[in-house]
Symmetry: C3
Subunit: 129 residues, 3 copies
């Protein structure tokens, strides 16, 4: 499971980098804590980090469950697509909120694939096929 | 642990369904990204998804830890109560934010039960009773 | 891993306590759901809980992964620093948003230490050193 662990940790580092960008945008656009609104571009960075948080809560458990039933290397590869999808999401969203569809797709589809893989594996294990 | 994994994955699918409802409400009530305010009903859908996120971060680790120490089938059954509690929360909150108490109770109590079960199990294991 | 499980559960209980404070501040400062703005002090409690959520999503997976490769007692001790860091963050932030640096440091540094420990362990396992 070392490759699955590595993918998890890289996704967490990416998420921390997004959090760092939020702090940087807070300074640059003069949005003082605890405010989370006040400048359009700050709000985009904030939404990118929040949306990544919203997806990580599903991504990590789905990744770990799927890796119990399928080849961990393949599962880790699906996880790597999520990490790339988040980068494209950041680039798309900050440029223009309408240009975030590719990044959304490459983030959500890997998670759905992991959930489906996990459901198949767990149901199969439950009935000992 | 297949039943515990299944409960986890169904909870994640429910959470994704809530996320889909937020996107749908965004379109219906004309709240453009990255705004998260602007229409009362949109904000309710958004709060349901956010509150589910806030609980999932506790629910999943507590579920997995409790299942290490107790009968996984029973632990999965407690987890299923959480999933139903979230459905009642959605129905109650969107109808009227004051009508969400039953859904809150059936979401928070299972998590507290899982945490307490986990603490007992871990303390017992630590002292090798 | 009982000590790592205990640290996880105590961190979750602390997080629930922060959530309780948000509900209490909602009542005290008259911020009706689903609103999340309207009173400066309420917003601080809300941000403390949200920020703890944002960190827990990284803390728990990093803690569990690091404990697979290193002495669980030491890893649990790093986790305990996070729990204390969150308490200092609460005290600092609610008093004055500018006084939260110590709490931020004692929350973020343990997570980064756990991620680095996990990366080393996973890379070592991957190449079977």
């Amino acid at each position: 499971m070392a490759c699955v662990n590595l993918v998890t940790l890289v996704a967490l580092l990416e998420y921390f980098a997004f959090g760092y960008l939020v702090g940087w945008a807070r300074g640059k656009y003069g949005v003082k804590a605890p405010a989370i609104t006040g400048h359009e571009v700050f709000e985009r960075y904030f939404r990118v980090q929040q949306n990544t948080l919203e997806l990580l809560i599903a991504f990590i458990p789905a990744l770990w469950i799927a890796a119990q039933y399928w080849n961990p290397t393949w599962i880790a590869a699906i996880g790597a697509v999520f990490i790339i999808g988040r980068l494209l999401y950041l680039r798309g969203y900050v440029g223009d909120p309408k240009g975030r569809s590719l990044g959304v797709g490459l983030s959500v589809l890997p998670i759905l694939a992991l959930i489906i893989a996990g459901v198949f594996g767990a149901v199969r294990a439950l009935f000992a096929w």
